[in-house]
């Protein structure tokens, strides 16, 4: 097999990896915030449900969650979904899982905010929405950036789990080539891809952190 052909196959897989990564972040970052609100809600049942949700998402393997999300529509609702649902299922499962982790990160960030910030805003006449979005959230983002970076790097590696639903991302592509050509080279190249991807992610987060360092 041509080296360039292998690279092309890996490249296609890489594209799928990036898609899973990007879509997961885009949806799970805001969803996590919503879930963290539920987790801190004054309404007891809401708090209980979100707490249970988070513990299930964090307490069971992501691989199992992928399978459940994929098969649930059929086994629970009797729905026949097209093959293309596989990719959607991967994204849904990743988003549900990562949102739970992000929710806990946001919660600890929000709870670490000094009460004086809320009180100053209240006395100045800010309403609840203004207080949260103008005063609290920007500071929370700065505080949670390090743990969010950790999760994001884990996500890059977790994308390989998409193989469970036969979505051919980079790792699956590498495994297939490796099997048919009996060489571990594609796996090594894939490893390099992951590494570089993560370097870029870490670098991006570092830049963001620097940007937010204009205040303390």
């Amino acid at each position: 097999m041509e080296f360039s052909f292998m690279l092309m196959q890996l490249g296609k897989g890489f594209l799928a990896t990036v898609q899973v990564f990007a879509l997961t972040l885009i949806f799970s970052l805001p969803l996590g915030l919503l879930i963290s609100f539920g987790r801190m809600s004054k309404i007891f049942p809401v708090r209980l449900i979100t707490k249970f949700y988070i513990s299930v998402m964090r307490g069971t393997p992501l691989m199992l969650q992928l399978i459940v999300v994929y098969f649930a529509p059929f086994y629970v609702f009797g729905l026949q979904l097209p093959r293309s649902y596989r990719f959607t299922a991967v994204i849904v499962a990743f988003v549900l899982n990562y949102a739970a982790y992000f929710a806990e990160i946001y919660r600890s960030g929000i709870e670490s905010m000094p009460v004086g910030q809320y009180e100053a805003a209240k006395v100045l006449g800010y309403n609840k929405g203004q207080t949260f979005f103008k005063i609290i959230l920007p500071q929370v983002i700065k505080r949670v950036l390090p743990p969010v970076t950790n999760e994001t790097i884990t996500l890059v590696k977790d994308t390989s789990l998409a193989f469970v639903l036969s979505v051919v991302e980079m790792f699956t592509a590498a495994k297939q080539i490796a099997a048919s050509e009996t060489t571990i080279m594609p796996l090594m190249v894939a490893g390099l891809f992951y590494y570089i991807f993560n370097l870029v992610v870490a670098l991006g987060m570092e830049q963001l952190e620097k940007k937010l360092n204009y205040y303390r």
Binding site: Q117, A120, V123, L124, G125
Partner: protein, 252 residues
């Protein structure tokens, strides 16, 4: 004209009765200082007056408008949200620990509330802010962030932030207690200048000399009640042993 009137304020935290029965009023342009031992409930009075805490009993009246009325049992009944929002604009509060917004520059700390709460234009808000910064000697700090300022400068910015909303009365809760001794002077000076401009103020302080020079009236609080009230002269020459003791400790 009475700017603030508090009648029979009561406040408990669980079983702890912190404010037992406090009544006081402040006229326009008057400076009232509240002194008293730690834990006597001074901060709680300010927090109830600024609606950071809800009082259990008593009335709270700003410029004749009831923020809270008393029902037959003397319990506080608060006005509607809409009314409270309007009444809120009458007062400002300066905290012991400044509570500036660390992610905003000095200028943004001062203009943001007038713009997003009172909806005034950026131009007007900036003009107001620059005039205040000039008055408080902080013109050159407008682009600095709070962490780059000394405690005294931060407290002056927080005073400017409160003044930018043009309150009718300003509350101070031990505005110099968090400062190194060499920095208290600059903050006290600013408050004195406000007094000369006839700003109506209620100041909780442990700075006895300052309270004596500045106040029209002084209230001595202990155990959730007012133990003594009068002009600085009255208070500093009182025969009341508790007040004498207390002042002695701080003057010494």
């Amino acid at each position: 004209m009475k700017i603030l009137e508090i009648n029979h304020m009561k406040k408990s935290f669980d079983d702890l009765e912190v404010i037992k029965d406090i009544s006081l009023s402040v006229n326009e342009g008057e400076v009232l200082s509240i002194i008293g031992p730690s834990g006597s409930g001074k901060s709680t009075v300010l927090r109830c007056a600024t609606m950071l805490e809800k009082m259990d009993g008593g009335e709270l009246i700003y410029l004749g408008e009831h923020a809270a009325e008393m029902n037959n049992e003397g319990r506080s009944v608060y006005a509607s949200k809409k009314d409270l929002k309007r009444i809120h604009k009458h007062f400002g509060l300066v905290f012991q620990s400044f509570n500036l917004f660390p992610h905003y520059s000095v200028l943004k700390n001062i203009i943001d509330a007038p713009m997003s709460v009172d909806k005034i234009s950026r131009k007007e808000a900036e003009e107001r802010a620059m005039a205040l910064l000039k008055k408080l000697g902080l013109e050159d700090k407008k682009d600095a962030y709070p962490f780059q300022l000394s405690g005294g400068q931060q407290q002056r910015v927080s005073i400017a932030r409160a003044l930018a909303l043009q309150p009718k009365i300003l509350f101070f809760d031990e505005p110099t207690s968090a400062l190194d001794p060499e920095l208290t002077g600059e903050v006290l000076k600013v408050i004195k200048e406000l007094a000369q401009d006839n700003m109506t103020m209620i100041i909780v302080t442990h700075e006895m000399q300052f309270a004596k020079e500045l106040s029209d009236r002084i209230i001595f609080m202990e155990d959730g009640v007012i133990q003594g009230e009068g002009t600085p002269e009255d208070i500093f020459n009182t025969e009341n042993e508790r007040i004498k003791d207390f002042i002695g400790k701080f003057a010494g």
